[in-house]
C-alpha cells in the first residue's frame, strides 16, 4: 500500500503520489458509500420521484403530477404548524440533551466511587424499548396518582394532565426524549474527555490558571470536536425521532406533538399517500441538509482539532 514518503520530491512525483492517495481515499471510503448508494441514496432518489407522482403504493399506475404535491403541502396551514412543532421539539430536546449531557459527563468524569454504576444508570434509558418507556412514563405523568403529581403536591401544586393536555404534551415528550437520549451524549462527551491530554491541564495549572479558566481554555476546546459532532448528529436524530412520539402520544392530543417525521409516517403508512409522504421526506431532508451545511460552515471553524 501507499507509503507516505516525506517532502522534497519533484512535481510529477508529487502529483503521482497525490493520485495514489486519491485512489486510496476512494478505496477506504468506497465500500461505505457503495452500501449507502444501494440502501440509502437510491431510496432517497426514488422518493424524489415519488414526491412528483400520485400513488398509493398499490395501484398499478402512478400518474406524474409535477409539483402539485409540493404546492398542496405548502398551502396547508397544518403543514406549517407541524414544521413549527418540529422546530420547538428539536430546539428544546437538542439544547437540553447537549447542555445537561455535558454537565453530567463532567460530573461522571470525576474520580468518584461508583461512577461506573452511575454511568450505567444514565445509559440504561437508551436501551429501554419504546413500549416499556411509554408505560413507565404514563405512571409518572398521571395527573392523579403519578410521581410528578406527588412531587408537585409537596410544594402545593396540582400536576397538569401531561399527555392529554395540548399545552403540556410537548414538554412531556421533550422530557422523555431528553431522559432517554441523554445517555448517548454523556457517553460521547466522556470519550471526548478522555482524549484531552493531561499535560494540557498541568501546563495550564503551571501558568496559574484557575479552575474556571482551565475549563474554558482546556476542557472546552478539547471537547469541541466531539461537541461539534454531537450538535450535528443530535439535531439529525431529533428531527427523525419517531418511536417515542408514537408510543407516548401518537402525535396527539389534537395534533400538538405531530412532527415532520410523524407526519411522514401518517401520510406514508396510514394514509398510503406516497406522493405527499414523499414531499414531507424531501422537505425534512432539505431542512436537515441546510442546518448541517450551516453548522459545517460556521461552527466547525471554531472547533480546535489536533
Amino acid at each position: 500500500m501507499a507509503t507516505y514518503t516525506p517532502h522534497q520530491e519533484r512535481h510529477p512525483n508529487t502529483l503521482r503520489r497525490e493520485h495514489r492517495e486519491w485512489l486510496l481515499f476512494a478505496l477506504f471510503i468506497g465500500p461505505n458509500l457503495l452500501l449507502f448508494s444501494v440502501f440509502t441514496y437510491w431510496p432517497l432518489l426514488y422518493n424524489v420521484y415519488l414526491s412528483m407522482v400520485r400513488w398509493d403504493f398499490l395501484r398499478p399506475t402512478m400518474p406524474f403530477v409535477g409539483l402539485q404535491n409540493y404546492i398542496a403541502a405548502f398551502s396547508d396551514p397544518r403543514f406549517w404548524n407541524i414544521i413549527w412543532q418540529t422546530a420547538t421539539f428539536t430546539v428544546w430536546s437538542v439544547g437540553l440533551t447537549l447542555v445537561l449531557g455535558l454537565m453530567l459527563a463532567l460530573l461522571l468524569n470525576q474520580p468518584l466511587r461508583y461512577r461506573n454504576t452511575a454511568r450505567a444508570v444514565v445509559f440504561a434509558p437508551v436501551v429501554m424499548s419504546g413500549a416499556v418507556v411509554a408505560v413507565v412514563w404514563s405512571y409518572i405523568f398521571d395527573p392523579r396518582y403519578g410521581l410528578i403529581d406527588q412531587l408537585l403536591g409537596f410544594i402545593g401544586f396540582d400536576s397538569p394532565n401531561w399527555l392529554s393536555d395540548p399545552f403540556w404534551a410537548m414538554p412531556a415528550v421533550i422530557i422523555v426524549y431528553v431522559w432517554k437520549n441523554m445517555g448517548y451524549a454523556v457517553v460521547i462527551y466522556l470519550a471526548g474527555l478522555q482524549n484531552i491530554p493531561r499535560e494540557l491541564y498541568d501546563a495550564a495549572r503551571v501558568d496559574g490558571a484557575g479552575a474556571w479558566e482551565r475549563f474554558w481554555n482546556v476542557t472546552l476546546p478539547g471537547l469541541s470536536p466531539v461537541a461539534f459532532f454531537l450538535s450535528v448528529t443530535s439535531i439529525l436524530t431529533c428531527f427523525q425521532a419517531f418511536d417515542l412520539i408514537r408510543v407516548l402520544t401518537n402525535g396527539g392530543p389534537a395534533d400538538v406533538t405531530t412532527t415532520l417525521v410523524f407526519h411522514l409516517y401518517e401520510l406514508g403508512f396510514v394514509s398510503y399517500d406516497a406522493g405527499k409522504a414523499g414531499v414531507v421526506a424531501i422537505v425534512l431532508f432539505l431542512i436537515m441538509l441546510a442546518l448541517t451545511i450551516v453548522q459545517i460552515r460556521y461552527i466547525e471553524q471554531r472547533v480546535t482539532y489536533g
Binding site: 492517495e21 486510496l24 461505505n32 422518493n47 474520580p111 436501551v127 417525521v261
Partner: protein
C-alpha cells in the same frame, strides 16, 4: 455544577490520599456525591420501576397507588416470558446479527474516518457531506425500496438480509473522524518520518490513541443493532430468524390487555446484556485513556 479540575484533583484515586484533605476539597467531594445521587435517582427511577415491575404480579402493576416495592415478589414472570417464545433462538440471532452488523460498521468507520481525516482528495468536504446526507434520509422512506432490493437479491428471511442493508455507517465515521482530527499533528508527523504506511499509522498510532472514541463508537453501534426492531421484523418471516426485540414485542398483547409483569421481565432480557457490555466498554475506555496518555 461541579466542573473544575480542582475537584478532580481533590477526588483523585482514593488510595493515593495520605495527607488530610483540605476542608474546601472535602466540601467539593460531598457536592460531587450529592449531585451524583440526585442524577441517579432522577434518571434511574423509571429504570428502577421497570426492574421492579418484572418482579410483580400483573394485578399489582395495575393497582393504585403505584407500589415501589413488590408486595408479593415473584420470579414467575421470567420463566413465563422465556417460555412464551423461543428466546434462546432469538438470543442467538441477535448475537449473530449484532456482532456482524457492528463489526462491519466499526471496520467501515475506521477506514472511512481515516480517509476523511488524513487522506487528500479533491472536494473532500463534499464527500463528507455526502456521507452525512445518509443521516438525513428518514428510515421510513427506505423500508419499502430496501425490501424490494433485498427480495430481488433473494435475501428475505436471511442473516445477510438483516445485516447488510444497515452495514454502512455515517454516524460512527463522523465520530471517529472527529477523534482522528484531534490527534496531535506531531504524533502523525513522527510516524510518517519513521516511514510508517497508512495501515500502520491507522492501527498502531491512531487507533490506540483514539481508543475511547473507537470503543464508544463500537458500543453505540452494538446498541443500535441490538435494539433494531422494524427492519428485522420486515425482512424476516419465520420465528427461527427473528431477533430479541421482536420477541419482547411478541409478549405484549396486540389488543386489549397486556401482561405487563411478563413484558417487563422480557424487556430485561434485552437490557441486561447491553448494560453488561456497557460496563465492559467503560473499562476499555479508561484503559484506553491511560494507554493514550503514555503514547501522547
Amino acid at each position: 455544577m461541579a466542573v473544575t479540575n480542582e475537584i478532580e484533583r481533590a477526588m483523585k484515586p482514593v488510595n493515593v490520599r495520605r495527607r488530610p484533605i483540605p476542608l474546601s476539597l472535602l466540601a467539593w467531594r460531598i457536592v460531587g456525591y450529592a449531585a451524583m445521587i440526585v442524577v441517579v435517582v432522577i434518571i434511574g427511577l423509571p429504570v428502577y420501576w421497570t426492574v421492579m415491575a418484572a418482579f410483580k404480579e400483573t394485578r399489582e402493576i395495575y393497582s393504585l397507588p403505584v407500589t415501589w416495592w413488590p408486595a408479593k415478589p415473584t420470579l414467575a414472570n421470567f420463566p413465563a416470558a422465556w417460555q412464551a417464545a423461543p428466546f434462546g433462538r432469538y438470543y442467538l440471532n441477535s448475537f449473530i446479527t449484532t456482532f456482524f452488523g457492528a463489526a462491519a460498521e466499526v471496520i467501515l468507520a475506521l477506514f472511512s474516518a481515516y480517509a476523511l481525516a488524513y487522506l487528500r482528495f479533491p472536494r473532500k468536504d463534499l464527500v463528507f457531506l455526502l456521507l452525512l446526507a445518509a443521516l438525513m434520509v428518514p428510515v421510513e422512506i427506505t423500508i419499502v425500496p430496501n425490501y424490494l432490493t433485498v427480495a430481488r437479491l433473494g435475501w428475505i428471511n436471511t442473516y445477510q438480509g438483516i445485516i447488510i442493508p444497515g452495514a454502512a455507517i455515517a454516524y460512527g465515521t463522523f465520530l471517529l473522524r472527529q477523534a482522528f482530527l484531534a490527534v496531535p499533528h506531531e504524533i502523525l508527523e513522527a510516524a510518517r518520518v519513521d516511514g510508517a504506511g497508512h495501515f500502520r499509522i491507522l492501527f498502531s498510532v491512531v487507533a490506540p490513541i483514539t481508543q475511547p472514541a473507537i470503543v464508544t463508537m463500537a458500543l453505540l453501534s452494538v446498541v443500535s443493532k441490538w435494539n433494531d426492531f422494524l427492519w428485522p421484523l420486515i425482512v424476516t418471516n419465520t420465528t427461527d430468524m427473528r431477533t430479541l426485540p421482536i420477541g419482547v414485542f411478541w409478549l405484549r398483547n396486540s389488543e386489549g390487555f397486556s401482561n405487563w409483569g411478563v413484558v417487563m421481565a422480557g424487556s430485561l432480557f434485552l437490557i441486561v446484556p447491553v448494560l453488561i457490555g456497557f460496563l465492559l466498554a467503560q473499562r476499555a475506555i479508561v484503559e484506553g485513556m491511560t494507554a493514550g496518555a503514555v503514547k501522547g
